[in-house]
Amino acid sequence: MTDFRVKGRGRVNTDKPIKFTFDDQTFQGFEGDTVASALLANGVHLMGRSFKYHRPRGVVTASSEEPNALIGTTRGKGRFEPNTRATIQEIYPGLKTESQNKWPSLKFDLGAINDRLYMLFSAGFYYKTFMWPRSFWDSVYEPIIRKAAGLGKAPTEVDPDIYASRYMHCDVLVVGSGPSGIAAALTAGRAGSKVVLVDENSEMGGTILSEPSVSIDGQSAWDWLEGAMAELDRMPNVRRMTRTTAMGYYHQNMIGLVQKLTDHMGDVPDGAPRERMWRVRAKEVVLAQGAIERPMVFDGNDTPGVMMAGAAQTFLNRFGVLVGKKPVVLTSHDSAWYSAFDMADAGASVVAIVDTRNELPKALQNAAKARGIKTYLGYTATGTKGRLRVSALRVNPVRNGKVGAGHMLFCDAVLVCGGWTPSLHLFSHTKGSLDWDADAKVYLPGHKTEDVHIAGAGRGLWGIAAALDDGTKAGMDAVKSLGGKAGSATYEVAEDRTGTGITQKELPTDRNPGKAKAFVDFQNDVTAKDIRLAVREGMKSIEHVKRYTTNGMATDQGKLSNMNGLTIASDALGKEAPKVGLTTFRPPYTPTTFGAFAGYHKGTHFEVTRCTPIDSWAEENGAEFEPVALWRRAWYFPKAGEDMHKAVARECKATRESLGIFDASTLGKIEVSGPDATEFMNRMYTNPWTKLGVGRARYGLLLGEDGFIRDDGVIGRMRHDLFHVTTTTGGAARVLNMMEDYIQTEWPDLKVWLTSTTEEWATIALNGPNARKVLEPFVEGADISAEAFPHMSVRECTVAGFPSRLFRISFTGELGFEINVPARHGRALWEKLWEVGKKYDICPYGTETMHVLRAEKGFIIVGQDTDGTVTPLDAGIGWAIGKMKSDFVGKRSLDRPDIVAPNRKQLVGLLTEDPKTVLVEGAQIVDNPNQPKPMKMIGHVTSSYWSESLGRSIAMAVVEGGFDRMDDTLHIPAENGAIVKAKVTGTVFYDPAGDRLKVE
């Protein structure tokens, strides 16, 4: 294997060789190498296959905008990542990498047949081809496209890595650590501002790393850089962060940073996070992100070995790697000439510099001549030779617009530069306007919407001296905006490389341009021809061209392709570029892992899991749980061998026959207190509260102003000026918010205050004919006999010595109590009741049994039997409306025309013809099952259970005009094509007279 490493060049640590693999072959690089630089050092250019045509592709850049060299990396079990940019991934011992989009191998790929068929795959191919016939979509087209589509292969295992996140606040955030970023950070740092300087690379310096021949303040560029870094590190108010990408710029100077912490490490510290997302709030932002080199568009411009001239310069100077020994430079910008000079000075035989321009500065031409480099001015490139690696470039003179005869320049690399595009992606995220500079043919930052300063090449400035000066100015401006004053600084720069260039569309050719494979977007395989075709077919805006051709829609988000695409589209349309538009850049700046966004929110911390004080007992006693809002609630308590059906049947039976115990702690609780508490309750709830005595409780129903049921719960009157309000589990926060809203904004004159006590109390429900027998001995300070403590009462007392608010209420239809004790005592009380209850075969039950028992009694669950379109009248609980009340929230709406209209959906009971059939909740109901499809649906099943007590199924449903359909038979089409018949009934299935509450 040939070694392309140049002695004495680059910043890699040649004392530390590192072995890694690419497609199972072992390669050696050095500490400081990326996968791309290490492979190039070994003479490997071919690093992947393209997405659509599976064309062989080599690395084209040395940075994060790389569209071609996307690899899969494996960092151990479960740690496979596709589409990693080989130009960013640093090597470490044992790193395993692989190429993508190839089968069976990178060098011989069967998918490349698409390339031979490329005439079929032109722009808009998908839109045109797969439209017809429609029935083919599901069965033929989609499966094939799905198989062929996808960039790289998706990981198959759960990501075992840890991701972290932090918030950060600073005065000045500087994005990009090239000369302008460093100058800005130095300026603001010296002025005492809290500065954060970030760069996506492993090392700071930007351009300086690629241009060691420049001298700054009498030092070599790299010595100056070292000094600048040391100075920044000495300042306690400055923080430097490498491997950190500013991926999005959001409102009011919030910037998302993704810091890669361990991807470059062979030995990752145990428990270390892989990446950390920083959410930074910066008072001022300096964007110093430089510029991105543009490719040139000509036939065969994607052949491996054709790459950016600036990238070649970076590979040489930063990594000590010659990308070729016989390169040709093809350019329309002065900068590539310097790349050619650096290559020549490092020992490469530069075959030629081909420039599309006719006129060039003499100094450049002389410098080329001095190095013996041939130059071709006013030339175009019209083709390449070589499939897996470029072997020649075909060039032709262009005279008076005519392309002359071509000849071959034999070479092993073609280094291109089609000019530079200021990197304004983050600025674009802020909706800052971009102004077209007609001379330079670039977009430059215009109107700003945030406190942001752009410096250096981002403003179209060229050269290190200009960048340092502009960065200094940006730093001073930022400090000034902060209300401070920063000292100026001047930098003496020698051997600076300044220059100009022109922008052009696809290069002219003497061949049939319709057959040219002149790529604009490498990753999505979009050619110049595709863009012209899109325009011919009527796409007039660049946004349409983009979507029709997919230009700029790859993972590099058009960093290389957008400007060339725009130039070609504007030429085809005969309009100036700004009239054609510019597609919008959106976050993230570079591909970002889902892990970085998720941060700590995985596994146990995916979401808050709220547990009650009694949850641990349920877990120890084998409960199955279900999520209810954020809570996890005991669902049922299966005994050995029981499924849910059997467990619930047993729990229901035990509760009805003797005694059940239930954890009701999740119910929302609100303390409504103050001299106007009664007036407030009268206004909020449908029910009347004035005459409710202290010590009594009442079912309360809460509507929205639209008249629909919002919440319900039992409310106890503790004092004349104090109510203990309960809400549904899921409605607790909502109801409190709604009440506060009315108190604060509608009725601020009322003296009433609210406090949530949901979590102050643990709530245990005891239900069943033996409930009182178990509870009574524990109670002190209250008589809970049937006469002294009737149904719907509340007392303050102690239970088992714990201060308590004790309710006599029932959500099961049995004799029932709800005991509220301070949360810390919840489990202790539960265990005491449990011990004593054993002589009555006390049975713990979960939410499922609670649902069955209440459904047997026809008690609704808000949110299950109601859905935000159900009024109290629809739900059959008009009795809860205080008829004498002049107003309450939602009252006016109960007279709205739509609410009093006939045939509203009303809540009824359903009994299936076959008592063993349990309907599916959510099933749709039809009147006549023989009608043609689609059938008219007249309602749906809201609750459905097996009732062990009744020995049959029961259900509730909302049905159009349901109250007038009593005893009618309705039909419920089932999944398997069967039709279930069910009779409409009332909703109280069990003990309609309420006799079971009357236990002495």
Partner: protein
């Protein structure tokens, strides 16, 4: 609850024993009466705290205060407020069991809190308190000193908040 103390050189996370805790809501004009009942002049500006021995009061809303006292004093404080309620209407609700308190101390306390607290804590004065969010949970954050904070969090949100702090404390100890 006796969760173990998670302690590293730079930061320590521990769970504090219970206190008597109250939510007081009252018209600001009536503060003087209840200040007397509580034995501490209640602060009037949102965020401010006042402390005297084991009694502390933090203003967390225009008409809302968080009160702390020794556990043994809970009944006496309830009685003292009850005595003035008819003349000076207010709402005093015992919330001693609603929240649990986590202490975060050490030189890296600010870093630790920054994992899930969106506030610029360098602006938070010692002795002040603020209702805010910590990740997905509403909390009251109290700053006792440069490197000393308390987080009061509703009981059911405690495992989430405390777990996150422990994860982050270990992360800080790794030093990346």
């Amino acid at each position: 609850m006796n969760a173990p103390v998670t302690s590293f050189d730079a930061v320590s996370v521990s769970v504090l024993p219970p206190v008597a805790r109250f939510n007081l809501r009252i018209a600001p004009a009536d503060l003087a009466t209840v200040s007397k009942a509580f034995g501490l002049t209640l602060p009037t500006k949102i965020g401010q705290g006042e402390q005297n021995g084991d009694r502390a009061a933090y203003c967390i809303g225009p008409d809302e205060w968080l009160l702390h006292a020794a556990e043994a004093d809970q009944q006496a404080i309830v009685a003292a407020f009850n005595a003035v309620r008819e003349k000076t209407p207010h709402s005093l609700v015992v919330i001693s069991d609603r929240e649990l308190t986590i202490s975060v101390t050490g030189p890296a306390a600010l870093d630790l809190l920054s994992v899930a607290c969106p506030l610029d804590l360098s602006r938070m004065a010692n002795g002040s308190a603020k209702r805010t969010v910590f990740d997905y949970a509403q909390v009251v954050l109290i700053r006792d000193g440069e490197d000393a904070f308390r987080i009061e969090v509703w009981r059911s949100f405690f495992p989430h908040v405390h777990g996150l702090l422990e994860i982050a404390a270990r992360e800080l100890a790794i030093g990346l």
